[in-house]
Symmetry: C3
Subunit: 154 residues, 3 copies
């Protein structure tokens, strides 16, 4: 695909995962005005869920890698919603990151940094977002991380 951001993805050797459709009565992305609301994306590696719990069987480093996978899935959904043209992204407005963790885990920010860093790598200053990073008691399929996003587009 053409465009500055798609070229940057290539330069960074980033291959986006397929933007998959939910198998339920909801959709991956809804646009309202200039905002795209992106459904919570779980961490999938080659389509398989990356499972586990921070503070137990997943390290902070592996959690950050899982968060990056969520970030890639978000970008893939945005790319599809924009008919491939990621240059229409004006700003990654907000990420809300949910970490599957034990009750005494305290490094949620370091985990979600895996997605935050990706956004700035790919979109530069347009990738700098507001963020919340909290723990969920559990997540779908037992995955380690789920992240949702709000994105402003032209």
């Amino acid at each position: 695909m053409s465009g500055t951001i798609n070229a940057r993805l290539k330069d960074l050797s980033i291959t986006l995962p397929p933007a998959t459709a939910p198998v339920a009565n909801y959709v991956p992305v809804v646009r309202s005005g200039n905002l795209l609301f992106v459904s919570g994306q779980i961490c999938l590696a080659d389509g398989k869920p990356v499972v586990g719990k921070l503070g137990n069987d997943v390290s902070v480093e592996d959690g950050a890698a899982a968060a990056r996978l969520c970030g890639l899935a978000i970008i893939a959904q945005v790319q599809k919603a924009l008919d491939g043209d990621l240059d229409r992204v004006q700003q990654i407005v907000k990420l809300t990151g949910f970490v599957n963790s034990t009750g005494d885990f305290a490094d949620q920010p370091k985990v979600i940094n895996g997605a935050s860093d990706l956004m700035v790598e790919v979109f530069g200053d347009k990738g700098r977002h507001a963020r919340a990073a909290v723990s969920a008691a559990a997540l779908p399929l037992g995955v380690a991380v789920e992240i949702e996003a709000i994105v402003e587009v032209a």
Copy 2:
């Protein structure tokens, strides 16, 4: 009440619960531009909280029924905010569903489907929303499900 959506509610034999006011310094719905931000609605049956924890004493089926109750409360709040005229709903933009569960529960999506399915039953394609479904360690009054919403109106 008149209107296409209110008629559909009647056809579906859906009776909305009362849209209750919070007993604190917040409000059920705030409008900003064309968006209604709907406060988190807990599952109430005949005004009484439906309590319990998924993965422990609440089945996925009962959880989905609880999520549907949250969805009904959301529609009731939107109806009230729109002076009864649900035909002004342009799109259910986003649902964020919190499931009260044990740490090893993995079927959050099946639970929140109870609300997602309701939105499509009632609003058709305008009911197809972006969504996140995660577990909360606990919820107000011990309820099984809480769901908040963003709704675009005309």
Copy 3:
């Protein structure tokens, strides 16, 4: 600083904390259209995290005080984003409050009231917001409360 709201803060003897910058690839506030999206603010007292878990070692009263600290941090970030002029706040649109709690805690609303009450004290009717209050399994640095906000500005 001048302005009606800054004067009200003085009348209420409220001193805002410093609006600190995150030490990661995200920002405290992103503006999109007329909305400010404020990153999740944790409870800090004199810059030190207020840690603990509701239902265990933090009382509801202390939790509400912690939520108020989150609210002060939100106002500080909004003040900074508006170059000091809090009179440009049109409406506190939404607060999402995450309470670090045990699995059987049920008073999330009373905790988050600490922030909700503050918003109405400071902004009057413009402070009445939509809200969700849920428990997180854990929070960054082990803090008791984290709250994010959406604010409409002129």
